[in-house]
Amino acid sequence: MESLRQLKREAIIAIQSAKSRAALRDEEVRYVGRSGLLTRILRGLKNISPEERKQKGAEANAMRALLETEIAKRETMLKEEEYKERLHFDKIDITKPGRRHQRGSLHPLTLVREEVEDIFEKMGFSIVRGPEIELEWYNFDSLNLPPYHPARDMQDTLWLDEQPMVIKRRGRQIHSRLLMRTQVTSIQVRFMEKHDPPFQIIMPGNVFRRESSDASHEVQFCQMDGLVVGSHASLANLKWIMETVMKKIFGVRVETRLRPSYFPFTEPSVELDMACLVCRGRGCSVCKQTGWIEVLPGGMVNPRVFEAAGYNPRETQGYAFDIGIDRIAMMKYGIPDIRLFRSQDLRFIKQF
């Protein structure tokens, strides 16, 4: 079958040298089209023996398949070349600015608060909130602050111009004044009056102090207290929680130390310091030359607090701690002045 072989050679050369997709289409029609050369050859096989025809037919079909593949290959190649040619003219200036979309942002204190909340929620803590206007009972009395404690002073606490509320606690009527809570610790007894142990909660929120603001003091700031009450909640657990939280926030290489402290509502009381991130412990103005910054006060809940909440103080134990969200945010982002947080200045806010 010289003619078939001859045809195949011719056809492949013609397909591979087609200069355009139109030219290729012509070659396709010429060779494998309905009345193309290949068909014509097949038709010319009428007069041969059936066996021979069968064999020739198979050969011709194989050849058709081969040519179609070749055509497809060439087609792809030609298309690619065409793209190259055509898209060149579509060239854009990629340095031109994109279409602007409004970009909003979450406040840095929200970002830090949520980060800390996430750490605790993974450890099984629930988030509990309380009112910003608080009763003296929850903010001071129930937390074992004696009635004449300096913190209750007009100088330190913002009091509301309202009549005291009369509340009943353990059969006693108490006249409790209204104030802007000075600590979210005020949520502790509120919560314990309604829930029984065991539990582990965190209590985020705004707190208020009557003091003139400066770079490190504010009349309003964000705290998050933690409270864990359960038969095995221990000082060793508290230490682990404190260290773990600091590592999660500031990285595993953060250096901390735990030392004794005093708070009316915890006994024993402790304070966790971290090595100053600004000077890496060498001493600078941020850490007042000590190389350390107080970050996490806490301790074992004072039995007087359990007593105020109506628990059996001898049989209950737990620990509490307090995280200053503003301070953590200042250290995390290198913010030098606490007043920036409530400055409402978008040049500050939009950096986060």
Binding site: Q102, R103, I133, M165, V219, Q220, L258, R259, P268
Partner: protein
């Protein structure tokens, strides 16, 4: 408080170097805030914790603390006191009329002393501690206080008329202090007085009249114990927190009185000569040492590790406690000077400190699952913030305090909450809405072409005359604020669009913007609306009234939307339900109609939707046109209607019939509405 290094070294000869000592104190007891070389000594600034003032605001206390840490006992001075046969009790009469204010008053009489200036070692040590040297008598009194905590006072015995009396001051009673300063006292102040009047403000400050001077020969030495609350109150009121007051207001051991007065008398005798009368005049007696039961199981459970009995006993011994085993517990007798030790937990703290908090192993807690709160609400709060931020708004935090100006704009002026002691007059009230906070934020950011802000926070107001709890006084809100210097239409629509996206994103689909039922001073009366659902008013949205804008100094049109957090949360909490997506094609038809200029979109839209029936799947306003080529007083609305059936392909005929019906109804509804065909 300032301490002298060499003084401490007298008591512990092997005292570690100042820096090392500071480190040991920090990890076991108190923070040493500074070490300063002065002469041959070092000044240590120690932050004695408030509960330890009673024992550690003196050198003996701090030395005892260090001794307990380094396991050394104190080497205390032995002072000899030579007494005459004459009895003190006969020479001085003490009359305490307020036993609660003064539980114990101890006095000694010294005769024939020579008042001169102090020797260098004494004035030097006082200087290290920041106390001025006056004369040897006053200096010894101060020295003993700095050593043993107990404040003492010396009177010139010859200037005292009659008995010493501890009493409440009468109303407007005058008093002149040693330094000449005058004070007016009252019945809440405790004084030491003689027949002529006050000689001292009890526990705070000595007076001029009976002060010890160079000529003084005979003195009465006082060591007393006062009610801490009374001292605190008086010191605060007259603004005089002396070294004595700092100690008395905490409450100190009454047994210190006799110990300290004997120490002082001996030292005076040594330095100023004279004779000391026999015994002390004393209005009280010693209290016994306290015994506290320490349960070992409880101790180990609270500390979180198995502290050995041996270590417990060792620590008790180092701290001067006497521990006796009783079954599984210890009975621990603590010195009366440790007034901070009352209950078991106080002892556990001592064990934790002395074991070393640094040596305490950190132990991961056993997690108890607690479902103590509605976490869905917390999650929702987060999502709201995130989604509003995604719409281009930046979150701000504001102070909750406002002033008179904001008060005037508040719709809840009458129920505003006020502070009794605000720092400034412009922070005297609590905000009743977030709108004010956002307006102040917008005003501060006018250097931008436009600004978008939001806040999530509490607002406050009294809801009823009688409240059950303070939780009733506050409400959580979400608010958005916006201004743009160049904008063709009211900023109202920017916020309306944002709210639309926000509410829809929470699956709230039954909300609408309705006319305001109550005029709000802050908002433009014709460019504001209430955000409602069928069940609740979620909040309010509006362009800001020019008068409010002027008050806040905002130059461009601005708008605020404010919603109740709880109501939004409730609206968003209804269960989402899957609706089947129709497999059949939809048919779209546009309707354009000319309407009078004051016709509102919703008026027309309502008619279309009410007439369209269930096959009308969607109605969208695609254009509003006002132009000169339209008839006078008219504008053009163009709506796109989408028809679709859930179960079949609609025919043109069906849809045409519905559209015809809509057109007829529209034209019948208002004769001025003209559908353009």
């Amino acid at each position: 408080m300032k301490f002298s290094y060499t003084w401490l070294k007298d008591y512990i000869p092997s005292l570690p170097a100042p820096e090392k000592m500071a480190e040991l104190l920090l990890t076991h007891s108190f923070e040493v805030e500074g070490i300063e070389k002065k002469g041959g000594d070092s000044v240590l600034s120690i932050d004695v914790l408030p509960n330890r003032i009673a024992d550690a605001s003196g050198h003996r206390g701090v030395a005892g603390e260090i001794g307990a840490i380094v396991k050394k006992s104190l080497k205390l001075p032995k002072r000899l006191l030579k007494e005459t046969n004459e009895s003190t009790a006969k020479a001085v009469q003490i009359n305490v009329t307020d036993k609660k204010g003064c539980p114990r008053y101890v006095a000694r009489v010294l005769q024939g002393v020579t008042v001169s200036s102090s020797p260098a070692w004494l004035s030097g040590r006082l200087g290290i501690c920041g106390v001025n040297s006056i004369n040897v008598i006053v200096d010894v009194a101060n020295y003993v206080m700095l050593d043993m905590v107990q404040p003492l006072h010396a009177f010139d015995a010859d200037k005292i008329k009659g008995a010493l009396c501890v009493r409440r001051a009468s109303k407007n009673e005058a008093f002149v202090a040693l330094d000449g300063a005058a004070y007016t006292l009252g019945p809440e102040d405790l004084v030491i007085a003689d027949e002529e009047g006050p000689l001292a403000i009890a526990g705070i400050k000595g007076g001029k009249r009976a002060g010890v001077e160079i000529e003084t020969k005979n003195i009465i030495l006082e060591a007393a114990n006062f009610d801490p609350e009374s001292i605190e109150r008086t010191a605060k009121r007259i603004g005089l927190l002396t070294d004595a007051a700092v100690r008395f207001r905490i409450g100190i051991d009454p047994n210190l009185t006799v110990r300290a007065i004997n120490e002082a008398a001996a030292l005076i005798q040594q330095l100023a000569g004279g004779t000391v009368l026999r015994g002390v005049a004393d209005t009280g007696k010693n209290i016994p040492d306290k015994t506290i039961l320490l349960r070992l199981a409880k101790t180990r459970s609270v500390l979180g590790f198995d502290i050995s009995e041996r270590e417990i006993l060792d620590i008790c011994k180092r701290l001067g406690f006497v521990a006796v085993k009783q079954g599984e517990n210890l009975k621990v007798k603590v010195p009366s000077v440790r007034v901070d030790l009352v209950v078991e937990e106080d002892l556990i703290e001592e064990l934790a400190r002395m074991h070393g908090l640094g040596h305490l192993n950190s132990v991961p807690p056993t997690i108890v699952f607690t479902d103590a709160n509605d976490n869905a609400k917390e999650k929702f709060r987060r999502r709201v913030g995130e989604r509003i931020a995604a719409l281009g708004y930046s979150e701000i935090y504001s102070y909750v305090f406002t002033g008179e100006q904001e008060r005037d704009f508040s719709p809840r002026k009458g129920s505003l909450l006020k502070l009794r002691n605000p720092l400034q007059s412009d922070t005297a009230y609590l905000r009743t809405d977030l709108a004010h906070s956002l307006l102040s934020a917008l005003a501060k950011n006018q250097q931008f072409e436009e600004a978008r802000v939001f806040e999530i926070g509490a607002v406050f107001c009294r809801t009823s005359a009688k409240i059950q709890d303070t939780t009733e006084l506050e409400e959580e809100r979400i608010a958005l604020g916006f201004f743009a210097k160049q904008k063709k239409e009211s900023p109202f629509f920017e916020l309306k669009g944002a709210l639309f996206s926000l509410l829809e994103s929470f699956g709230i689909d039954d909300f609408y913007f309705g006319d305001v039922s109550l005029e709000h001073k802050l908002f433009h009366p014709f460019r504001s609306a209430e955000i409602k659902t069928d069940r609740a008013i979620l909040g309010m949205i509006g362009e800001i009234h020019p008068r409010a804008r002027e008050a806040f100094g905002i130059k461009s049109p601005a708008a605020i939307a404010e919603l109740s957090f709880v109501k939004l949360y409730e609206a968003a909490s209804s269960e989402l339900q899957y609706k089947e997506v129709s497999k059949y094609p939809s048919i779209t038809r546009d309707i354009a109609l000319l309407v009078p200029l004051d016709t509102r979109v919703a008026d027309v839209e309502d008619v279309i939707e009410n007439t369209g029936g269930t096959l009308l799947a969607d109605t969208d306003l695609i254009d509003i046109y006002e132009g000169t080529e339209l008839p006078d007083g008219k504008k053009n609305f163009a709506f796109r209607l989408v028809f679709q059936a859930p179960d079949r392909t609609l025919t043109d005929g069906e849809v045409n019939a519905i559209v015809d019906r809509i057109i007829k109804t529209l034209e019948a509804e208002n004769l001025e509405w003209e559908v353009r065909k």
